[in-house]
Each structure stands twice: as C-alpha cells, then as structure tokens.
Symmetry: C2
C-alpha cells in the first residue's frame, strides 16, 4: 500500500507491536504505584472457559464483546478458547482488535461516512466485518463505503425486543430494510441482532423474558423467511443473560463482554462471585483525618461514577466488607468505615471490586497481569477508541 495513506495493515502491525514488546518486564507487585487495576490471569482463564463451555454445550457461537478488556492478550485468550470472533462498538476498536482477530462484529449503528470508510478499508485488508444497524440511513452509508472499497459488509438488523436502546420495532419496516440491503451494492443481509438489556435481573427471573424475546424474534424472522431471506445469524446476549441464552431457541450467537473480568454488578445480580472477579483496583489510604472515614486514591478517575443496583456506594472493599465507598471526587474515594471493627491505616493498600469494570478499564493505559509476586503491564490497546 502507498505509504501516504493510513493502511489497515499498518494499523495492525503497530497495534501488535505496541501490545507485545518482548520480553515483557516483570514488576514486583509492591513496586506498582496505586491506583492500578490488577488482573488475575487464572481467574480470567476460568471465566473464559466457563462461558466457552456453556456456548459449546448449547451449540451457540460465542463472540465476546471486547469493550470490557480492550486488550489484545485477553482477546487472544478468548479466541484460543473457541470464540468465533469478537464484538466491538467502534471502527477504531475494530482496527485494534484486527491485529488478533479476522472476524469482527461492529455492534453499533454506523452512520458517519468516515467511520464506514475505516471499516471498509479494514474489510478490504482481509478482516470480515459485520455491522448491526437499525436504519435505512446506516444501510446507505455502509453500502456506499462498501461499494467504494470493493467489499461487502454483512449487515444484521437490530430489533428492539424490549430494551429500548436501539433496534427497530416494526416487522414491516424490518422487512423493507432487508429488501433495501438486498438491493444495494456493498452490503448483504445476514440476520437479526438484539441487546437483551431489559433482562438484567437474576438468572432465575430470566426464563420468561427469554421466551418473550423468542416469540417476538420469531415474528421478525418468519416475516423475513416468508420474503425469501435466509436468516443465518441471530445474535443476542449479554453477561447477565449469557448462560440463559438456551431459553431462546432462535439464537445462533451470544456476545457477552463483562464475563471475562466480572464486577460488583455481576455479583449483586447473581451472575458471579467475588472470587470470579478477575479485575481488582488496588488503592492506597491517603487520609483518615475525618472521623469514621478514610480516603483512598481511587476516585471517579479510577472507579467511575457508575452505580450498581441494590447496593450502596461505588465499589466493594474486599478487606473491609462493611466499608462503604460513599462519595467520590476525581482523585478521592471517601470510604465510610464507621461500621468496620478495625479501620485501615494511612498507607495501607485496599482492594476494590468496582461496580462496573468496562468504563474503569477505559480509563487505564495498562492493566497489571499477576504472575506470582510480580506482574506484567498489558496495554489497554483500545482505550479511548471513541471513533
């Protein structure tokens, strides 16, 4: 490729180079300043294997969402465990993940021509790109970019089964969009897509919701079959719904993300245990000047302001389970220790399971993957990929 145009090949090699300096430096755990995110690779491997095993058992393709880890090492582990490909949200994430994966689903309505052009260039370099869309406008933008680059995007039509974020709700409109796609150069109709964000409750509450989803999905699917379309892919599933996916017999593919690390929301939702939380924030007590409180150096620049259902505070302190991370400012986490039998001293390191791990990882340049008493810094290669 000519050197004056940014080529996907160049993107791949630079991402791979940035992510894999050899040999990786091992750092003693105590020498890593706080705050930082520590990853237990053994727990990661177990989390990956449990979901992979579930998918194999139920004959579902597993396409993990890379948004949780944004990290090539984690993606490679998922692919080695049998993932059929990866899910991403944005073209810039796709470019990063293309370093290790040649089959990517962009689970996001692409409507900017520049974004479509980036994806088309990636596809032209040999990465299979599927995009989930919910409007004729997105189909036109992608068709135009696909045709211009001499490639064809597989398109899934995003349908709203109750979550109400994106997704079309009208069966006839979906059929019209499929027709439009079928008659456009640069794109091909491949199936249906949904996000079951309305089924975030405990596993035992989800069966009825899944059956409702299946019924509704069946209406979209049947209308498309009647019109002569093949509905090859039906893609759905999140971490909270991951292991109940077999209740929806129409599903061919699931896209859990958080399961690789888990977080406090997974635990309070009944989808994981604290032991299965592979990503932990290590933080230091910096102040105890205010009675009944300690302040740690993990604030909203580390924990984010994301809350969690049914529980107080911004994270769970493993060493002091009675403590409540009551307030955050950017660099300060105010922890109420008034209910604790003993209180942490200044300089003491605490371990916090954050409410929501995905945006935490997006704040980090690296995470620290533990090997014995040491760790290696793994680049969060897709951090900040908002385009």
């Amino acid at each position: 490729m000519p050197s004056h145009s940014p080529s996907p090949t160049a993107t791949r090699s630079s991402a791979a180079t940035a992510a894999a300096p050899e040999p990786k430096q091992r750092i003693p755990l105590a020498a890593i300043p706080t705050p930082h995110v520590r990853i237990d690779p053994k727990v990661v491997a177990d989390n990956i294997e449990r979901m992979a095993s579930y998918a194999r058992q139920h004959n579902l393709r597993l396409r993990p969402h890379a948004k949780t880890h944004k990290t090539l090492r984690a993606a490679e582990m998922q692919l080695a465990a049998g993932a059929c490909g990866l899910t991403v949200a944005k073209p810039s994430e796709a470019e990063v993940m293309a370093a290790v994966c040649d089959d990517l689903l962009v689970a996001y309505p692409i409507v900017q021509p520049t974004a479509a052009a980036r994806l088309a260039a990636l596809a032209a370099s040999g990465t299979k790109i599927t995009v989930a869309i919910d409007s004729p406008e997105a189909a036109e933008v992608l068709a135009s970019a696909g045709a211009a680059h001499g490639i064809r995007f597989d398109l899934l039509i995003d349908v709203n089964l109750g979550n109400g974020r994106t997704g079309m709700g009208d069966v006839e409109a979906v059929a019209r969009l499929a027709e439009k796609i079928a008659h456009s150069e640069g794109v091909a109709f491949a199936g249906l897509f949904f996000f079951p964000g309305d089924l975030m409750g405990p596993p035992e509450t989800q069966e009825e919701g899944f059956k409702r989803h299946a019924t509704r999905l069946g209406e979209f699917r049947q209308r498309l079959l009647d019109a002569g379309f093949e509905v090859r892919v039906v893609s759905g599933g999140s971490t909270p719904t991951g292991k109940q996916s077999h209740f929806n017999a129409l599903l061919t593919e699931i896209r859990p993300g958080t399961y690789i690390y888990n977080d406090r929301m997974c635990v309070t939702g009944g989808h994981a245990t604290f032991e299965q939380c592979a990503a932990r924030i290590i933080t230091t007590v910096v102040s105890n000047a205010v009675e009944g409180q300690v302040v740690v150096d993990a604030g909203s620049k580390t924990l984010t302001s994301d809350g969690a259902h049914h529980v107080d505070g911004f994270g769970h302190v493993l060493e002091y389970p009675e403590a409540i991370v009551r307030r955050l400012s950017e660099e300060h986490g105010m922890i109420d220790v008034s209910r604790c039998d003993s209180v942490p001293r200044i300089g003491e390191r605490l371990t916090i399971i954050p409410n929501h791990i995905c945006p935490v990882i997006n704040l980090m340049d690296v995470t620290y993957w533990v090997e014995g008493d040491e760790a290696v810094a793994e680049p969060v290669a897709a951090r900040g990929c908002i385009w």
Copy 2:
C-alpha cells in the same frame, strides 16, 4: 543527568514536544469525527480573564487547578493572564505541567514513597513544589524524600472547615503537625489549605458559609501564630466559590479549576451561563428507531455518568433545550425528545454541555480548539495521570 535514570528534564522536554508539534495541522470542523470535545479559545480567554481580574481586584493569588484542562496550551494562557502557578493533584500531573510552570501546588495528600520521590526529583530540577497534607504520615514520607533529594517541600496543612473530604479538624493536632514539620529535614511549614466543597450553592448563599469558614480558619491560624509560626499561605477556593472568596479575609490564594471551561453544573449552580461554557461535546445521532428517543454516539465513555444537582440527565443539548439525555451506556446516549417540537434526524450533529467537564476531558486524548471553520487538536497531555 545520566541517561539511565528518568529525569524530570527529560519529562519536561518530551511533554513539551508532544504538546507542540509545529506547525499544528488545521482540520475542517466537519471532517472531525464524533464524538469529540470542541473548545472555543475566545470563551476560554474570557473565562480566564474574568477570574484573573477578580483575583487582582481582591489581591488574591490565583493558582488554577489544572485538573480541568490537563492541557499545556490552557495552562500557558492562565499563566500569561497572571496566575501565580498551577494546582495539580498527582505527581504525574506535576511532571506534565512542569513543562510550562515552575511553581506547583500538589493539592493531594502524598503518602506513597514513590510519589514523594517523583515530586522531590521534580523539585530538584528547579520546580517549586508545595504539597497539602493532613497527616503526620504524609509529612514523614515527604520529609524523607525531600531530604534524600536535597530539597525542601513547602507544606500546607489541610484543614476541614465543613466539607469532610480531607482535612484535619483539631486545632491542637494541626499545631503538633506544624511542629513536626518544622523539626523535619526536607519539608517546611508554609500555611493552611482547605477545600470549600461544602459551599457549592448559588453565590448569594455563600456569604454566610464563607464567614463561618473564616472564623474557623482564624482559630487554626491564631494557634499557629501563638506558637510562633508564620502562616504565609492560606489556600482555598473552587470555581463555585471563586468569586466570593473576598468574604474570607484570611485567604491569600484561590484554586478554581472548572472556571476555564465551565459546565452544566456551573450553569445550574448560577456560576456561569451556557455562553460561557467553552468546552462542548459534538455528537452525532446514530439511531431514532425507538419512539420519542434518539440515540447519540456520546455515551458514558464521553459524557461520564456524573450527574448534576437540580436537573435531569447527563448533559444539556444546546440545539434542543427540551431534550433530556435520559440514559447512558458506554457508547450510547439515549435522548428523550418527546417534549421537543422537532426532532433531530439520523446523522445530525448535536452539541452537548456535559454535567461535569473535568472527567470528560480526562477521557480525551485531544480536544479541538476552534479557529474559524477549522480546529487544531491539542493534546490532553495529563490525561490518565492517576499516579
């Protein structure tokens, strides 16, 4: 300096180089993908001048907190307008800002020896470093690093006047800490520090709070004077309290941060107008599939989950003031447009004033500073500086 040790000098020049490639490329506004943060330099200059003028008028030293912008260009504008130095939270931010400023206040209790050593190295290279602390432990860590590097940190003692985040509350304990500092190598007592986070209401409600603060501060100060200490610095002040600082006659220095850009919290708190919001998120409508709602590509990875008092939602949409940014996921902003007379179409760009600009900037690699119909990308040089 020997090349094998990371030197503050090297940090300075690399930060300066990264921030000032010459000539800066000008990009047409329409060619910048969304989401992004657009900065109006004229509004920035006006905001800087208003606060500088207030400080001059009341004979207060102005030491802006760099956490809001994390950007060398913005820091240089503040210094050119008469700021006496800058405030930062972390040593890594200090290293970045030392490229343009030789007088830094670290408004954070430093208790990790590695952090203290970084600051001492910076001080040894010629940057004046003051640190605000609230414990004997912090004094010891800083004294040890200062002595080891042959420098002396100026220390301010952080006192709690009602905010309850950090800060000592006991007059005698403050006097004991000042004595300890006075008898330690590597540190010197310089004065008092507080964060008036309890006075975030509208300006007209603050006078009484300021007088309460002044009374309490006076008790700490008198005790120190009685013990023979000079209380050279009394540092307080935030953006919401910035222009009421003259109600507290003991103040010598104020540390507002947000005022440079302002945000929705500043507007709803009565401290700024939308016209004075210099930093705006440009976002694109990507879906309108769900009735009464549009989805934009600014989610919590752009807007953050920070709320604002007294108002709904996660930001103010300038073009559609009746719209409510109701829900966020990482890449999706769900905007309720059911109360709008007209609704934005797919592909339309919207301008959002975020609730809280500081953590938004921390998510961005660059911000776009407008020049006519074009912009230049300014590195957010201290983004992600959590150490």
